[in-house]
Structure formats: structure tokens, C-alpha cells
């Protein structure tokens, strides 16, 4: 754990920039977080990153909360605050100003082009996030089985994801993963 101001500035810079590219939400930015935090900075191991992803999924609230956890791991409470502010601050200001003028844009043609263009990118990014998590260190055949079963359940059944997470945690704790 490091808490020098240089680390905080780097943390803030990374997440502030990332927030502008998180099309479709925090889950789209998981591969970029992994690249910067694990591959570039070596702030944590592959396994620790996957653990944080799991912890963030177990916490109620928006998925962006993984940023708080990463910040906390890197630089304590201050790091948690800095990372979260950096990830949410710029886009919130943007949302605030755009929200005030939104009524003017209603029904514009570029609106549809923007939607049609961003959706496939979001799909690609979300698929990449699943891959990054699935290629982590401890991922074995049983883990792959859990992923597949979860995917099938969540695709066809309207079940609260928390129950699947609890079942997967119990399977893991029982030594099956």
C-alpha cells in the first residue's frame, strides 16, 4: 500500500480519463482498469484484481464501486475517495450541463445514429470484460462451468443475481473451485 501524493495524482488521472471512455458504464472499463492497475502499474496481482471485482459485485450499489475498492487498495481511504471522485466527477459535471439542455435534442437524427453506433461498442467492451475476468490466474474448468451455468441461468431465468453469487461462493468455499 502506497500513499505518496504521486500515486494519488496518477490514480486520479487514470480514472478521470477512463470515466470519459466508459461507454455503457463501469463494466465496460474493466479491461482498461486491469491493464493500468495490474499490467502497467503492478499495484496488485491478477488474482487480487479478480477478487476486487468479485467483492464489488457482492456489494449493493452501482458497479462503479469497484473503483472505490481499487483506490482503497492502492492508497487507503484517501485513495478510495480520490479514485471515486475522479471516476464520477467529470462525467457528473457533464451530465449536469447536458441534462439542463436535453429537451432541445429530443428526436434529433444524430441521436439515433449515436445510439446505433455506441451499442455495438458497448457489447464488445462488455464481452472483453468477461474475458479479462475469465482469464485470471485461478480460473479453472470448474470456474468456467460456473460462468457458463450462470450465463445460462441469467439469460433464460429472471433470477436475482445475488442468489447465483451466493451459490458460487459456497461452491468455491467448499473447495470445488
Amino acid at each position: 500500500m502506497r500513499d505518496d501524493s504521486g500515486t494519488l495524482v496518477t490514480l486520479a488521472g487514470y480514472f478521470a480519463l477512463m470515466s470519459l471512455f466508459a461507454i455503457g458504464g463501469a463494466n465496460s472499463a474493466i479491461p482498461e482498469m486491469h491493464r493500468l492497475v495490474v499490467e502497467v502499474r503492478h499495484w496488485m496481482t491478477d488474482r487480487q484484481f479478480t477478487d476486487m471485482f468479485a467483492l464489488a459485485q457482492l456489494t449493493p450499489g452501482p458497479n462503479v464501486i469497484i473503483v472505490t475498492l481499487i483506490g482503497f487498495h492502492v492508497a487507503g481511504i484517501v485513495g478510495a475517495l480520490v479514485a471515486t471522485l475522479a471516476m464520477c466527477g467529470p462525467t457528473c459535471l457533464f451530465a449536469f450541463f447536458v441534462g439542463r439542455t436535453f429537451d432541445r435534442f429530443r428526436g434529433a437524427a444524430w441521436h439515433a445514429a449515436l445510439a446505433g453506433g455506441l451499442v455495438p461498442v458497448t457489447i464488445g467492451l462488455t464481452a472483453a470484460s468477461a474475458t479479462v475476468v475469465a482469464s485470471a490466474a485461478d480460473y479453472n474448468w470448474i470456474a468456467a462451468g460456473i460462468s457458463l451455468v450462470t450465463a445460462v441461468i441469467c439469460y433464460w431465468v429472471r433470477l436475482h443475481p445475488l442468489w447465483v453469487f451466493v451459490a458460487a461462493a459456497l461452491l468455491g468455499a467448499a473447495g470445488l473451485v
Partner: protein, 201 residues
């Protein structure tokens, strides 16, 4: 917003379901905080369903149409949708302070929780049983992402267009397989994708 007119049937706007067309008075700052804290703490994974239930069905602060419009806007903006939604919703009713209060309500409680979990993890993260439990949860969460991808991708393949699936696959390969930096990839692929969508309109 002009939807607070007391007339039971506003003639200029069609009411999709007359049950929720009666909109309640705007929320106070305290109500904003409690509403978004509740939405946040009751939502695991996806928060959209909970925010719709509270805003439209329970509190009646928005009509279905207003909610859909606000949410569509949030999906276009960079950053997490629900975070943007809290800012736009709060500031629309109570100005900048309302936006801030709604945001703090949304992020504050889960931040406290996740920091507690993070501290516990720092102490007990090496316990074998806990480690394996987290591997299981991460695997399940990856599966949840796969299901999300499958659901989102359905309309892409429905109209037999090639551009959408191609863009999705190129994005996946560049980020998930080759591990190129996100800003670089998006700087190329987003204009191309929007251009392709514009041509198809």
C-alpha cells in the same frame, strides 16, 4: 418540466398508462438522498429496475415517458448510467445541490460498505476458503456479463446487418484479446461505428 399540470388529462402529451400519469410534488433534498440511497442499497448488479420502480411506480416523481427519456439520455453520456441519472434527476428538481445530494445518496452508502469489505479483505484475503469463494463469485459474475452480452447482442443480429456485429467483434478483439489501451481503440472505433449507423439511417 411541464408535466405538473393539475388537469387529469393533458391534451398535448399522450399518456401511455393513465395510472402513473399523475405526478407527485417534487422531492425535497432529504427525500432525494433517501431515495437514491435506497435504490443503491437494494440493487445488486443492475440498478435500473429499482430506480424505475421507485421513481415511476412508488413515488410517482416521473411518468414512464419522462423516465425513459431521462434514462436514454444517461446511456449516451459517458460514465455509469445510474450515476448520471442521479445527477440529472436531482438537479432537475432541486438545482445543483439536489444533484449533489442525489449523487451522495447513491454512492455514499455502498462506498462505506465496500471500504469495510476492502479492509476485511486486506486482513483475511489469504484465507484459502475465502479466496476460493471469491474465485467462485468472480466466475459467476463473468457469466452474468456473458448473459448481458447475449441479451444486448440479440437485436444486432436480428436485422441481418453486418456492421454492428463486426464493430462489436473488433472492439472485443482489440480490448479483450490484444489488450490495447481503451482511449486509443475508442478514438478509432466510435467514429467509424457512428458513421456506419448514420449511413444506415
Amino acid at each position: 418540466m411541464s408535466s405538473s399540470s393539475p388537469s387529469p388529462r393533458a391534451s398535448d402529451a399522450p399518456a401511455p398508462n393513465s395510472g402513473s400519469s399523475l405526478v407527485a410534488p417534487p422531492p425535497s433534498l432529504a427525500e432525494l438522498f433517501v431515495a437514491f440511497a435506497t435504490i443503491s442499497l437494494s440493487g445488486f448488479g443492475g440498478v435500473l429496475a429499482w430506480s424505475r420502480r421507485m421513481m415511476v411506480e412508488d413515488r410517482r416523481w416521473l411518468t414512464v415517458e419522462q423516465f425513459n427519456e431521462a434514462y436514454a439520455l444517461c446511456a449516451f453520456l459517458p460514465g455509469p448510467n445510474i450515476v448520471n441519472f442521479s445527477v440529472i434527476f436531482g438537479s432537475r428538481f432541486r438545482g445543483p445541490l439536489g444533484g449533489l445530494i442525489a449523487l451522495v445518496g447513491l454512492l455514499g452508502p455502498p462506498m462505506v460498505l465496500v471500504v469495510i469489505l476492502g479492509a476485511l479483505y486486506a486482513h483475511y484475503g489469504d484465507l484459502p476458503a475465502l479466496r476460493r469463494a471469491l474465485v467462485g463469485v468472480a466466475a459467476a459474475a463473468a457469466g452474468l456479463l456473458m448473459a448481458t452480452v447475449a441479451k444486448m447482442a440479440q437485436p444486432l443480429f436480428r436485422n441481418r446487418a453486418v456492421a454492428g456485429p463486426l464493430v462489436a467483434f473488433a472492439t472485443f478483439a482489440a480490448i479483450g484479446v490484444i489488450h490495447w489501451p481503451l482511449p486509443l481503440v475508442l478514438a478509432v472505433i466510435v467514429p467509424v461505428s457512428i458513421g456506419l449507423a448514420w449511413v444506415r439511417l
